[in-house]
Symmetry: C2
Subunit: 129 residues, 2 copies
DNA sequence: TCCAAAACAATAATAATTATTATTTTTATT
DNA sequence: AATAAAAATAATAATTATTATTGTTTTGGA
């Protein structure tokens, strides 16, 4: 029997915030953003629910920027750009390693690839000015 | 005039350890490994020198595994595999995004790409058993 | 050898994250 | 609707990686 999972307003709000923000939020960002609607939301709750979403595969950590983990509700493999100036994390459309290449790597190194993450680093349009 | 840079046995030992280890070490690993030969080496010194190597471009941070930053003295762009089981970081030969693709991304998003890092996640040969 | 700059160890301070505990919310059942 | 067990939470404490500070030692030129 699987574990029962009760409904929680806050969990839903956290997940919605992750989905509806394009910024790939950190725990801190989620807390301050959601404080407006849920004044008694605590950071522990944000971390606990992020951990749960990760376990379920509903979100994925895409990068650590300035020591803070940034997450994405778009779990389809895609690139990210990280700005050295402002720390922004942007989605980038484009190809990743294809299945054939991954299969070749798996064979060659005897390992099993479960996911991939291509990060580009540099300066975003804003910060270049 | 450029900044004077005195010689330091420990700095050299730290750099050599990074170069000669295939494990993409963390600060912690470097400390414990080098303690044998330099019993009064301190963690602060390890961090300070890693920071300097990064500024100089002599090493690059390739991943954060279990909260610890892992570094590589091979600054040529190449893939890495990260084992979900044991946290190992392995070098993987293979193509990254080529200059043409990057130029296209730069144009499309108005940004400047300075480096890239492709991470594969999964289970290494050892941990699969 | 003498001196100033650089590097260091030891220690304290930060900052992100995780764990604990007592309270509140949810939900199934009466 | 009332009740009680399970789950979720806030508040708080504890951990852990990293950075900053300070006083001492090392380095290398004069």
């Amino acid at each position: 029997m699987e574990k029962r999972q009760n409904y929680s307003q806050k969990r839903e709000a956290i997940y919605r915030a992750i989905c509806s923000s394009a910024c790939h939020p950190s725990a801190e960002w989620l807390l301050t953003t959601l404080k407006r609607d849920y004044p008694d939301l605590s950071l522990g709750t944000v971390y606990r629910n992020i951990a749960r979403f990760k376990e379920q595969g509903a979100v994925v950590a895409v990068a650590v920027v300035n020591g803070q983990e940034r997450i994405d509700a778009n779990v389809e493999p895609h690139m990210h750009f990280i700005c050295r100036g402002c720390g922004a994390v942007l989605d980038i459309e484009g190809e990743l390693a294809d299945d054939a290449s991954l299969a070749q790597i798996e064979q060659r190194y005897g390992l099993k690839v479960e996911s991939q993450n291509l990060l580009l680093y540099g300066m975003c349009a804003e910060c270049r000015k």
